[in-house]
Symmetry: C2
Subunit: 205 residues, 2 copies
């Protein structure tokens, strides 16, 4: 299970190199424990026994390392969603599970790995590639569910697929985007269910 390189951050030097992996590994631990800001590039260098300058042979910037970690973090959310979806049968059920799992996994990340969550939130706020890629993957999952639901005759087929997906994503957006989600924690228990109901009603053929 390679959860790291989903959206390539700006890399330098050989893309596949043991030192790069060491950097990412050390960054994962340090960022999670001390946070992005309180971790210095020198800290990471020291942790893997190299000089700070050598880090820059593999990453463009500290932010690029942050992107890698952020992408890996968001990948775990996507992985949780994919796993939950595997156990679902109908497209209707899948849509509910997608929404619910996305939120519960993100919220659990918020409470259990706050430092990593903060990186993701910042990433979303700044429009980093890792956050954009995350959004696109959720959208893609949505595309597949809707398409399947249309083929199964469960969902209406008049509206263009893109449009349907776009508006559903719009509904989910405040809960997909970590920056927004943290301001909606008081809604997290009911919103996925209720909004799924709303969306499904609007999808009725």
């Amino acid at each position: 299970m390679n959860e790291i390189e989903s959206s390539l951050p700006q890399v330098r030097g050989p893309a596949d190199h043991s030192v790069r992996e060491q950097i990412v590994l050390a960054a994962g631990e340090h960022f999670s424990r001390y946070g992005y800001d309180k971790t210095t590039v020198s800290d990471l260098a020291k942790a893997i026994g190299f000089s700070k300058a050598y880090i820059y042979k593999f990453f463009d910037s500290k932010q690029a390392i942050g992107e890698a970690i952020c992408a890996a973090t968001l990948d775990t959310v996507v992985a949780a969603v994919d796993e939950a979806l595997a156990g679902a049968s109908t497209p209707t059920e899948k849509l509910r599970i997608l929404f619910k799992t996305l939120v519960t996994t993100s919220v659990s990340l918020f409470f259990n790995d706050r430092k990593l969550y903060d990186i993701a939130a910042n990433s979303a706020g700044e429009g980093w590639p890792s956050a954009i890629a995350y959004g696109q993957r959720i959208r893609q999952t949505l595309v597949e569910i809707i398409r399947e639901g249309r083929q199964a005759g469960e969902f209406e087929r008049k509206t263009p697929l893109d449009e349907t997906v776009h508006v559903i994503y719009l509904v989910m957006h405040p809960y997909v985007n970590p920056l927004l989600l943290q301001h909606n924690l008081d809604l997290v228990d009911d919103a996925p269910t209720q909004l799924s109901n709303l969306v499904l009603r609007s999808l009725a053929p």
Copy 2:
């Protein structure tokens, strides 16, 4: 048109007093020009020709003054919505106009009176009464529209009214709440229309 006292902030002394109005007036100008933080209570006192201590005969705290200004600011949004709704005929149209006017007015506030907008955003983030009251007024407007639409046979009647209103408010929330809205500025052109369509489809009888 009294736009000031919609949700009573913690007040002191006579609720109706020329000095209170002077304070609110001066605060409106100062907060709008210099921002909440950069305006000191002494500034307000100086502006109306009294001592700082006298201010506290009328307001519990600086925040209470901020609440008053925030309430007035949000009242202008509600007023714009009410005015726009007056020109609408069907409940369907009203729902669209409610959403659209709310967003455009808020966004215009964001760009034209940023300092006041920031107070509103902060208010929403901290759960100040002024922000809560604002949300409740939007909800109430929603209740009236849905009720009217149900009576007119335009909207379905099976779901409990509260539930329907709640979920629609949930959809609108990221655009009602100033704190969230400012992170959704790139969506404001399309979201109201598209989400209104979604909601209306789900309301079909």
